[in-house]
């Protein structure tokens, strides 16, 4: 089983906090789509034995692409790869760029999960982080999605944003729940260097809530989401029973995935080796390389077995249920509790970790200090 990720690097406008590989004000959708298709065709004979049970079209803003191109991409993916009948197929949308036509086309081309970037229900917060939609637009986008027949919808919400109060954040959570979202991703803002927001915060133009206020928001958000029937299954992800995102769970299981598109990352078992690779970072180089019928690889790296084990812990402990000991042992031939005996007992003594017959998992406190726990596993 493996995941297929397809990156669409276009945005109408770059959000103030965004450091992803995305480009505003570009419209070279056709050459990019053609390159994606070439990339799939090049991989097709190489990845015959993998079966993909999830597809995730992310961005950027995939919903900016004309709907017909999404259908072409998905058709080609099925043509080139073994995509399971019941695969989870997600597309990321921004409220302002979806409409009835696009949504119907998605539906028809097999998309069965939407992820809507609402981020906040507070218009002044949205403006501060450079989003181009408002609350009203989020509401209508959600209604359109439901009308088109989507029954598995995620809403992204952020906290720790400029001008955001506790109430403003909790209102956003409540709204997502009232709308009926089956899944809510609730992230704490990561202030990255080389972003507009970073400059504004450093220069004092905008202030972020302080560390303690942000931590309070997160804690209150977890409590509220759980009271609304969303189960926290990963550090920042919450879902109604049965609606956990399979594509992302594969990442947290450190499973195989193939990434297509600009700067897309992949990790695959290739002849018993665990290999990570990533694509070129500019559209130009990506399109040019594929134009020459070559894979657009910027870097390839074989991961040592010890590193692979650590990755499984690092990603696995993001899940609330933690790392499955039997699965780890099946993959590496050793029980993780034995492999990392010292780190496990230190974390357990600190009240950060619980170990059962089946799993090793972080406690609520351990989840708050996941980084510090991980340092002992390195």
């Amino acid at each position: 089983m493996a995941g297929l990720y397809i990156h669409i690097p276009f945005c109408r406008r770059k959000c103030a906090y965004c450091d992803f590989v995305s480009f505003a004000d570009r419209v070279d959708f056709l050459p990019y789509t053609a390159a994606l298709i070439t990339e799939m065709r090049l991989y097709s004979p190489l990845i015959k034995e993998k079966s993909f049970d999830t597809v995730f079209i992310g961005g950027g803003t995939p919903s900016l692409l004309p709907a017909g191109l999404i259908s072409r991409i998905l058709d080609e993916a099925r043509e080139c790869f073994d995509v399971a009948e019941d695969a989870e197929i997600t597309i990321e949308c921004n409220p302002e760029s979806i409409d009835e036509i696009k949504l119907n086309e998605y539906k028809a081309s097999g998309v069965n999960r939407l992820s809507i970037g609402m981020q906040s229900s507070d218009d002044k917060v949205l403006a501060a982080i450079g989003r181009i939609h408002d609350k009203a637009r989020s509401l209508s986008a959600y209604a359109l999605a439901e009308n088109a027949g989507f029954t598995n919808i995620n809403i992204d919400i952020m906290h720790g944003l400029p001008l955001q109060s506790m109430e403003s954040y909790l209102d956003s959570v409540r709204l997502a729940s009232e709308l009926g979202a089956q899944h809510i991703s609730s992230y704490s803002l990561i202030l990255e260097e080389h972003t507009r927001l970073y400059d504004e915060v450093v220069s004092g133009k905008l202030a972020l809530p302080d560390e303690d206020d942000t931590a309070d928001m997160q804690d209150a958000g977890i409590t509220l989401l759980e009271s609304l029937g969303y189960k926290r299954y990963e550090i920042s992800n919450f879902a109604k029973a049965g609606f956990e995102c399979r594509h992302n769970i594969n990442y947290w299981n450190n499973g195989d995935y193939l990434g297509l598109g600009v700067n897309a990352h992949s990790a695959l078992h290739i002849r018993d080796k665990w290999v990570r690779f990533r694509n070129h970072e500019t559209i130009e180089e990506y399109v040019k390389t594929l134009g020459e019928n070559k894979l657009p690889l910027a870097e390839t790296q074989e991961v040592e077995r010890e590193d692979e084990m650590f990755e499984c812990i690092m990603m696995g402990l993001r899940k609330i249920e933690g790392v499955n000991r039997a699965e780890f042992e099946k993959r590496f031939g050793i029980d993780p509790v034995e492999q990392f005996a010292a780190a496990v007992s230190a974390a357990a003594l600190d009240g950060m970790m619980e170990v059962t017959e089946e799993r090793m998992k972080l406690t609520r406190r351990g989840l708050d200090f996941q980084n510090e726990v991980l340092l002992n596993f390195m």
Binding site: G3, Y5, Y187, S188, L189, I190, E211, D212, T214, A215, Q218, I235, S236, N248, Y251, W252, Y257, G259, N263, A264, H265, S266, A267, R276, R278, Q301, D307, F310, E311, M314, M315, R318, L367, D368, F369, Q370, N371, E372, L374, L375, M378
Partner: protein, 600 residues
């Protein structure tokens, strides 16, 4: 055959930082074809990176040039470079003693600075002829008339016919060469007298050992001679003598009046002390040249490896460093907070900073440095006196009868508009006013007695910022005076951190305690528990701050594309942890020790 003495000129260049000393030296070498401009590094005399960046010369070197004068004869010009900072006054005085003339460079856009003045007087005291040269006349803001007036009014030298040059473009540099020949005397000295060679610098060469850079005052020295260092008393056999062309070039002999190096397979520059006199063991001179002084460290600090495992590497680096700089002292010490390290002594604050930078750069070490300290004289109740260079070793207050601290006679030159703010600064630094003179309308000289303990913190930086860079500063240690000093300690989560202790005047203890506690509060990262920070004198708490507990340390998002980056972040975090120092339960970053130094 010795070069005819009347055709030799030994000289140095005196200039303030940035006034163009190295540039002029380069031009002189170019004009005399000593080096071709193509293969010349930008600033040849300043061969160390740090010097280049700071625009100062740390170790003096020398260069020999040949110049064909208009009289048709070819002169040997020996340029002896001098260190350009107040910490090296003694070294400067020995370099000057090796010369007969000094080129004084004055920046036509800036005028004369305090340090320059100090060095000019030092040169005059050593009997040197002074040739003023006005530099940077190519700049639009150049005011050569003013520079001339300053030289005449402040120093008292005639400067009407001073060459006006641009070392940068090479304009009128020829005039400087001609005037060196006509204005400076040929060296005196007797080639037939017993050897007396003045060591003005030393240098450790990996193949030849410690080289003595000398000016031969009397006599001749040749390979094979047995030489004696008159102050240290040690004897060696000369393996090589040579000149600076500017790289080391062996010659058959060095004779009275000449400048060069003596190599005698000496293992350490500690043997080749600046100011010492070399003579021949067979036929020794009666008296050494006067002016020799043992250079004593004045400023001390603890130097520790940021990563405790690097201790041995630090020891090796220090051993190598002192091969070339015998004025640094070091001995092992242990700190509860920092583990194993060394107590190091330096001539002054700049000397200390340069040494730290060299250790980090040339030996690739990551260091933690404690706050600098001076040597306190502590008179105990039982009548004995102890010298304390590490606050952690200060005896208990009940055993102390009284304490004394070193004072500095400090000269500050400034445009009059900054006099007020500078006097305030000196006052804050417990300075005692002794004199104020208008050297001319636009230049005031202030003289204060200021405790060295105040100078070693941020006096120089404060002076520069308060005067917008216009004030200049020079000091010399004068004497010890009684002072009401106390030891200021810091406790983190109840545990004392010895490496943060300092000795301060009682009147300043409260303010300093508060300021450092606040600073620590800023630099100590939040940890999983709350950390109280306390400043204390004796057992009494005088300031308190708190580092609040950390609430979260987890990455909000981590998907397929983030894994590699996330691993790198964790590695960095782990690396950072390794560099943390454990004080009881508290983890303290190396920067905490540094930041304490930067408190007003």
């Amino acid at each position: 055959m010795a070069y005819p003495r009347e055709l030799i000129r030994n000289f140095c260049i005196i200039a303030h930082i940035d006034h163009g000393k190295s540039t002029l030296a380069d031009r002189l070498m170019e004009r005399t074809d000593t080096v071709s401009s193509r293969d010349m590094a930008d600033q040849l005399l300043d061969s160390m990176d740090i010097e280049r960046e700071r625009g100062i010369t740390i170790k003096s070197t020398a260069v020999q040039m040949f110049y064909k004068h208009t009289d048709g004869r070819t002169y040997m010009l020996n340029l002896i470079d001098t260190p350009g900072h107040v910490d090296f006054t003694y070294e400067v005085s020995r370099a000057l003693a090796a010369c007969d003339g000094a080129v004084l460079i004055v920046d036509a856009t800036q005028g004369i600075e305090a340090q320059t003045l100090a060095n000019v007087y030092l040169a005059v005291d050593n009997g040197l002829e002074i040739l003023p040269v006005i530099n940077k006349i190519d700049l639009p803001s150049a005011d050569p008339e003013n520079a001339i007036r300053e030289i005449e009014d402040i120093i008292g030298l005639p400067a009407e016919d001073a060459p006006q040059v641009s070392a940068k473009t090479g304009l009128n540099v020829e005039q400087v060469l001609a005037r060196i020949v006509t204005d400076f005397p040929a060296p005196k000295g007797e080639a037939d007298a017993p050897l007396r060679a003045l060591i003005f610098d030393s240098y450790y060469d990996n193949y030849k050992g410690a080289l003595s850079y000398v000016r031969i005052m009397d006599g001749v020295v040749r390979p094979g001679d047995r030489i004696r260092f008159m102050h240290t008393g040690s004897e060696f056999d000369v393996t090589e003598v040579g000149v600076f062309s500017p790289s080391l070039k062996p010659v058959k002999e060095l004779s009275a009046g000449e400048v060069g190096y003596i190599s005698a397979s000496i293992k350490s520059v500690a043997e080749t002390k600046v100011g010492d006199t070399i003579t021949l063991a067979e036929n020794p001179a009666k008296e050494p040249l006067h002016g020799y002084k043992q250079a004593n460290p004045m400023v001390f600090c603890g130097i520790y490896p940021a990563d405790g495992a690097e201790y041995e590497n630090l020891r090796e680096a220090l051993e190598k460093l002192i091969l070339n700089d015998a004025s640094i002292s070091y001995e092992p010490e242990t700190s509860q907070a920092l583990g194993y390290g060394f107590r190091c002594g330096f001539l002054g604050l700049l000397h200390m900073e340069i040494a730290q930078e060299r250790l980090e750069r040339e030996f690739d070490l990551d260091l933690v440095t404690t706050a600098p300290s001076v040597i306190y004289r502590v008179i105990l109740t039982d009548g004995t006196t102890v010298m304390i260079d590490n606050p952690a070793n200060l005896p208990s207050p009940t055993d102390i009868e009284r304490m004394e601290e070193p004072m500095c006679l400090s000269h500050i030159m400034t445009p009059p508009e900054y006099v007020g703010t500078i006097m305030e600064l000196c006052q804050e630094k417990r300075g005692i006013f002794s004199d104020m003179v208008y050297l001319e309308q636009s230049r005031v000289k202030l003289t204060y007695q200021i405790p060295l303990n105040e100078i070693i913190f941020d006096f120089f930086d404060s002076l520069k910022s308060r005067s917008r860079g216009y004030a200049s500063f020079d000091y010399e240690i004068s004497d010890y005076v009684q002072s009401d000093l106390v030891k200021l300690d810091f406790l983190l989560n109840g545990d004392m951190c010895d490496a943060l202790s300092t000795i301060v005047h009682r009147d300043k203890a409260y303010a300093k305690g508060r300021a450092v506690a606040e600073k620590l509060q800023e630099v100590i990262p939040r940890q999983q528990f709350e950390i109280p920070i306390q400043a204390a004198i004796g057992g009494k708490i005088i300031a308190r701050e708190t580092v609040r507990a950390l609430r979260k340390d987890v990455l909000a998002k981590c998907y397929g594309g983030d894994i590699t980056r996330k691993k790198k972040l964790l590695e960095k975090q782990k690396e950072g942890k390794k560099r943390m120092r454990q004080i009881g339960s508290v983890e303290l970053p190396s920067e905490a020790f540094m930041s304490v130094l930067r408190i007003n």
